[in-house]
Each structure stands twice: as C-alpha cells, then as structure tokens.
Amino acid sequence: MKINWFKYSSPQTFYPLAGKMIPWFAWLAAIFAVAGLYISFAIAPTDFQQGEAYRIIFVHVPAAWMSMVIYIVMAAWAALGLALNARLSAMMAQALAPTGAIFTLLALVTGSLWGKPMWGAWWVWDARLTSELILLFLYLGFIALQSSIDDPRRADKAGALLALVGVVNVPIIYFSVKWWNTLHQGSSINMGAAPKMAATMLLGMLLMALAFWMYTVAVALMRVRCIMLERERSTDWVKELSLSVQSTAGVKS
C-alpha cells in the first residue's frame, strides 16, 4: 500500500521537517501573544459596564474559537486518513485532539471565571455554554476511544470514523441546543449582553487567536513527532535517530 502521494507523508521524512517547522511556529506564537497581550492590557480601555473583568475576553474568545476550529481540522485530517489510508493524516488528527480538548476546557473555565462576577453564577445552562460542554465530550470521546485501542492502525481508523460522525452531528447539536434554550424561557442573562466590540478589542482578540493558532500548530507538530517515535519504535530510522541524539547530546535533531 505505498501511495507515494507526497514525499513528506512518510514519517521518516516528515519527522525532521516537522522538527524544523516547530521553532518557526513557536516564535510566531510568541510574537502574536506579546502583541495581543500588550493590546489587551495596555491599549484596550476599561469597559464601563463590566469594569476590568472583561479583559478575560482576550483569552476566552480565542480559546473558544480554537476549540471549534481544531475539531474541524481534526475531522478533516481524519477523513483524509480514512480515504487515502495515509498514516500521517491519522497521526495529525490524533495529535490535534488533546490540544483541542485543552482549549475547550480553557474556554469553559475562563467563561466560568467571567460568569461569576458578571452573572453571579459559575454556570448557566445557556445554549452556547452547553454546546461548548458537549464539544468537550466529543473530544473526550475521541481521545478515550483512541487510547483504549492498542493496535494503532485500528485506533486510527476507529477514531477517524468517530470524528466524521461527530462532524455530521456537530451542527445538529449546535442548532438543537440553541433552539432548546430559546424555547424554554431562557436565562435572563446571555452573552449577547457583552458590549459591542470596539476595534481595539477585536484586534486584541484576533492577535491572541493567531497566537493560539500558531501555538496549536507547533504543539501538534511536537505531538505528532512523539507519536511517530512511539509507533515506529522498532524501525531502523527511529533506532538510528535515537542513537544519534544521544551522541550529539543536547542538540535537537
């Protein structure tokens, strides 16, 4: 089954390439983060309704965005892996899932931390909050399924199938949850109450989102390298690599 679709789809060639890409994305992430944090804390004015608490928006919203984007990207990799039987795609999907779950968790936690001062409650069953919670469940299901299957190729395929089923369902879930909350008389507060966004705030959020995005790429590449090492443990290239790393101790491959 050797489709030499693309030279870098083989772990052996992708591993060093990824290694070269990681620092670039890491630096980009750092630069965007510094710029974003500068805007969020130094430039953006105090909100007259919410006071300084609104600054949570600069991590909350980018995290929420990333949680959704990553799921879609992950499903796309999974589909590609299933369709082309390409190992690398499946590994990318697997590498993205934990980061996606972390961002989902961060969105939930920062949202809660925002909700407490604004609404007086850590949690309300608002449509958007609820669907974010369900998204967390979907991520966890994907991770749990993959981690409980030993055979990596089977895990890849099963995970990919699950991600695809999830993608079909995500919009359905999203709209049903939305509808659910508007039909029952909703909570008196909702996130629409957040202030109309000023341009600086939007810029800050965008920069932070870019930082998160670059970070995600860097971390996913790191994780995919780990996965490659673990899976191809008994192949020659990994053995050679591990020996060469030792001989040039401290130098990254």
Partner: protein, 205 residues
C-alpha cells in the same frame, strides 16, 4: 482458482510474514503449518478478507477478492477458532441459521442429517451452551455437510475432537476435494486427507 501474491501481514508492530504466495486449484488441499504464533490464523483471516493484508493481493478466479467480495464470499466457508454458535439456540437452530446466512437454504431434515453425520444427532435439540467443548466444535463443523461452497478455510478443525470424529471429518474433507472443492487447513495433528493435489505452506515464526 484461488491465488495469493506477495502477501505480508503486520500484527501490532511485528511483521508476521511477507511475500507469501500460492495457487490452489480445484480439488486441491493446502496445509498451512507452523509453530504457535507463526501467523497461520492470521493468514487464514487474510484469505477470507477479514484482515487487510499489509501488502499483496488475494485473487479468486483472477479477480481481487476485495473487488468482487460478494461472489467470493458466496464461494467461501470459513470456520475459525471461534465456533460462531449461539449458546441459547439449539444445535439444530444454530446449524440452520449459519448455513442460511452463508446462502445455503437447508431444511430441517438436511440439517439433522449433517448433525448425524458428525455423530451429534442426539444433541440436536439441546442448547449449545450446555455442550462440551468437542461437541460444540462438532456442531460448528456440521456446516461442512451442508456447504455448497467451493473453498473451505478451516482453522484447527481437529482440535478438541475425539478420534472417531477426526476420522469422520477427514473423510468429509476428502469427499469435498474429490468433488472438485478446495480446502485450506491448519492443524497440529497428523490426519490423512485425500485430495487431487496436496500442498504445504510452512510459516516460520
């Protein structure tokens, strides 16, 4: 009629075998031999299409079995380690259902006859759950008296059978081959089976 080319099988991260090929024609019998863990069962599952080979292809009448799965499968009878029996159904019901699922319509009398052939007519109306290991195996093997498939793939059919049953089964296999059927079999026992042509595939761990 059945041909395999360059088969390789990877389980976990171990390559069990590679470059396995053979040709089996009508009336042919093939023994798959090898030590425990050498990959005999895996090879048989590959040949049935239950496992996807890492490399290589299996052909049935010149066509890859993945391409014309339905035709191939209607010519195939596979009996693996597992008997494929339901503990709550009687031997007779189990036999009829598994034969029908494989596409052979059978009536009750035919089913009873085949149970009698392998010597467990007495258990026909007992739920399979209460049978002994060897009796269960015999219920599963009784399908061979009903099967009209060309190709039989049998994974250690003789294990747990008593001597009388081994002989009965060997006779049935010989009959199948003399009717132009094909059989692929793994076993650790020495059993005499007659065939128009006999070949041996030895896997080494």
């Amino acid at each position: 009629m059945l041909m395999a080319q360059g088969l390789a099988c990877l389980r976990g991260d171990r390559l069990l075998f590679k470059n396995v090929g053979f040709e089996l024609s009508a009336g042919g019998l093939m023994y798959v031999l090898g030590e425990n863990g050498s990959g005999k069962s895996s090879l048989l599952r590959l040949l049935c299409g239950l496992l996807t080979p890492e490399e290589g292809t299996v052909f049935w009448h010149g066509q890859a079995i993945k391409q014309n799965a339905e035709i191939y499968q209607s010519n195939l009878t596979y009996i693996g380690h597992l008997n494929g029996l339901k503990d709550d159904l009687t031997a007779l019901e189990n036999l009829q259902i598994s034969a029908r699922l494989a596409g052979n319509e059978v009536n009750q009398e035919e089913a009873l006859n085949s149970l009698a052939a392998i010597g467990i007519a007495r258990c026909a109306n007992l739920p399979v759950g209460v049978l002994s290991q060897g009796q269960k195996r015999r219920v599963a093997l009784a399908r061979l008296w009903l099967s009209r498939s060309k190709l039989w793939v049998l994974d250690e059919p003789f294990a747990a059978l008593d001597t009388a049953s081994v002989e009965v089964l060997a006779a049935r296999l010989s009959e199948h081959m003399s009717n132009g059927g094909m059989t692929i079999i793994t076993t650790h026992q020495d059993v005499v089976i007659n065939a128009q042509s006999t070949q041996t595939l030895r896997l080494s761990a």
